[in-house]
């Protein structure tokens, strides 16, 4: 076995013996995905809704039947008056109310225009939008069938109104966001802490007194985290695809290749932090405040960058997670190929090279004692 792999093996020992940390490292992405995911999907399934049918004709009966048979909705209240709508919401029972206007069928076939109103609970904007989207889709399907049969320009116009929260965020954001967060946490935080621990324990002093280039030790430390991170990516993608049903529209290989690039970027950031930090605590705060917070704020994961003031928008450009976030969204959600993300990829590559270069330069071949 080569010397390098002996070093990697030693790092694996360290990691495997610390069962608690290992459990967190491997379990964190899974729990993150499940927490973020089920906060969204659990409520969308079998959501309780109320129906207020002013028309009570054949068409509304058919539509209601379709809504009821959908896995997303469970009709709990049949209301008879509009004054009951607010009461139902306030009881907290229902997430959505669907109101069919009087003479629905008559209007549909005669004036070719019938209206149905969706009133959704906007306290959880994601759920609200999703429910409205699902409801609209059912009506659109029904409309398409009518068009197909009768070839007539019948139209049902869904009218949507969100109550409690007018502004809505998009879903599908969290899978790329969690990927960036987890990789950064595992790679940057764990590598920098592991390296600085050698300084703190004094083992770095013994290694420095040997002919070994100490940078070798540092590089070998990052290899196990590379593997753990690849495992994390695969578990995130697996869970989000099969359980949360987030699509992977583009190439899976490209997605994994870009993720590995981002892992290396995060590792280089970890190296950079460890070349400055002298204690494990400062390494930890360095990565959390210097890398993790900006990822939450400026990657576009939680707050849309377009809505930020210009200086913030400019600042966001030096956050590597922002570029990774764009790449992952482009491949997974938009299904774009290599040609449309090469710029972001290049930025990550250059950033990584720069970080490694600075870390090597800063890495001291002697003890740093003030």
């Amino acid at each position: 076995m080569g010397q390098f792999w002996i070093f990697v093996r030693k790092e694996m020992w360290h990691i495997l013996r610390d069962k608690q940390t290992l459990f967190v490292l491997l379990g964190m992405p899974i729990s993150q995905i499940l927490i973020f995911g089920f906060a969204l999907s659990n409520e969308v399934k079998n959501s309780k809704i109320a129906i207020l049918d002013h028309s009570k004709d054949l068409t509304t009966q058919q539509l209601i039947k379709r809504i009821e048979s959908s896995k997303y909705f469970e009709i709990t209240d049949y209301l008879s008056h509009s004054s009951e709508i607010e009461e139902s919401f306030k009881k907290g029972d229902i997430k959505l109310a669907i109101i069919f206007s009087p003479d629905f069928e008559k209007n549909l076939y005669h004036s070719h225009e019938a209206s149905v109103q969706f009133i959704a609970d906007g306290t959880d904007p994601n759920v609200g939008t999703t429910l409205v989207n699902y409801g609209s889709a059912i009506i659109r399907d029904y409309q398409d069938e009518l068009l197909g049969e009768k070839k007539l320009p019948y139209q049902i116009k869904p009218e949507v109104r969100m109550i409690y929260n007018e502004q809505l965020n998009a879903s599908y954001n969290f899978v790329p966001g969690v990927m960036a967060m987890v990789l950064l946490l595992v790679c940057s935080l764990m590598t920098s802490v592991a390296i600085v621990r050698e300084k703190e324990l004094g083992t770095m002093e013994v290694l420095l007194a040997s002919p070994l280039n100490p940078f070798f030790v540092v590089i070998s430390k990052s290899i196990p985290y590379l593997f753990i991170s690849i495992f994390n990516i695969l578990s995130i993608l697996f869970l989000s695809y099969f359980i949360l049903e987030v699509p992977i529209r583009g190439s899976v290989f490209l997605l994994i290749a870009e993720s590995i690039l981002f892992i290396i970027t995060s590792l280089s950031l970890g190296l950079f932090v460890s070349s400055i930090a002298k204690t494990q605590t400062s390494a930890m705060f360095g990565t959390l405040i210097g890398l993790f917070m900006p990822t939450l704020m400026f990657s576009g994961f939680m707050f849309p960058i377009d809505n930020m003031p210009v200086p913030m928008q400019i600042l966001s450009n030096i956050i590597p997670s922002k570029w990774f976030f764009i790449i992952v969204k482009s491949i997974m959600i938009k299904g774009l190929g290599y040609m449309s993300i090469w710029k972001e990829t290049l930025i990550l590559v250059l950033f990584t090279i720069l970080m490694i270069f600075i870390s090597v330069k800063k890495f001291n071949k002697r003890l740093d004692i003030e």
Partner: protein
């Protein structure tokens, strides 16, 4: 003349702490010969660790030069590091790895194997071999020291730097540790060891007494004792406190220090007699005393040198 292993000239090193300049090493000059045990003796803060770190190329001196095994500690540090074994003052092995894993790891650091140099560590390793599957963190203090020594020896270095290997170790483990060093010396190794325990000086071939960044003296333990100026007396009485008070106010006494159950009294006059001392004490109301002229210990010499500086 024995061949030289370490030579250092005019080494200076200082640190700044809150705008205060602290001089760690002040013009250190030393020569250490091959296959000798050289002891750096002095209390905490004397500069022992700084000097060892400079010689092991871990930190740079502010000025001066040093050669270890013909390698300059500043310029040839890469070559130097292949020739030295180093054991820092703090226990610096991986506590979560087993005894065997630690040893194998440090062998691989030097691109060698445990088998290749087993003959060197055999005597020491067999004392801890029963615990080879135990993590280093679960070993007792004495065992940790033995493992650390094995790890520092595994690449068969020409010279071994040991920074306070016996600090905080009990008297029995200290004796055992010095027996191991003597055995290594017999095998031809040069050993550069620091210690705050003055009684360990007699186990070294030559010693440097250090205090406040300065070397007070370099010689063999017996020469150090010969350099003691004046006469030294050991006094005992049942009234130790009064005895000490009386001695301290006598102008002919240079020093009076308690040494266990007796007081060591230094008097610079070569021809002062036992009777004179007894008479003085009698005048001060101390009659029953036990007095004896003695050879100085290294600790007596150290305190005399401290006083002169």
């Amino acid at each position: 003349m024995a061949t030289i292993s370490i030579q250092c000239q005019h080494i200076k090193k200082s640190y700044t702490l809150k705008k205060n300049k602290i001089i760690a090493l002040d013009d250190i000059n030393l020569e250490v010969y091959k296959s000798e045990i050289f002891g750096l003796i002095g209390p905490d803060g004397a500069g022992k660790t700084s000097l060892i770190r400079i010689l092991a190329s871990l930190i740079l001196p502010d000025s001066g030069s040093a050669k270890v095994e013909e390698c300059d500690v500043i310029h040839d540090f890469e070559k130097l590091r292949t020739k030295i074994g180093y054991m820092p003052g703090r226990f610096s092995l991986y506590q979560d790895l087993t005894v065997q894993e630690n040893l194998e790891f440090f062998a691989s650091v030097f691109n060698t194997t445990v088998q290749d140099n087993y003959h060197l560590i055999n005597d020491i390793y067999k004392q801890i071999e029963v615990f080879k599957f135990r993590t280093a963190g679960a070993l007792s203090g004495g065992m940790k020291q033995k493992l650390a020594l094995c790890c520092a020896l595994i690449h068969s270095p020409s010279i071994l730097f040991l920074d306070e290997p016996t600090t905080g170790v009990d008297a029995v483990s200290r004796i055992e540790f010095w027996e191991m060093l003597t055995e290594l010396k017999r095998k031809g190794m040069t050993i550069f060891v620091s210690t705050p325990y003055m009684d360990e000086a007699s186990l070294c071939d030559r010693i440097a007494l250090m205090q406040s960044g300065k070397i007070l003296s370099v010689s063999s333990p017996s020469q150090v004792k010969q350099q003691y100026s004046g006469t030294l007396w050991s006094l005992q009485s049942i009234h130790m406190y009064h005895l000490m008070q009386a001695l301290k106010k006598w102008s002919r006494v240079d020093s009076a220090f308690s040494f266990g159950e007796s007081i060591h009294v230094g008097i610079s006059e070569q021809n002062i007699s036992e009777i004179e001392i007894k008479n003085y004490l009698l005048q001060n109301g101390i009659s029953e005393i036990n007095i004896q002229r003695i050879e100085p210990t290294v600790e007596d010499c150290f305190m005399q040198l401290m006083d002169k500086n």
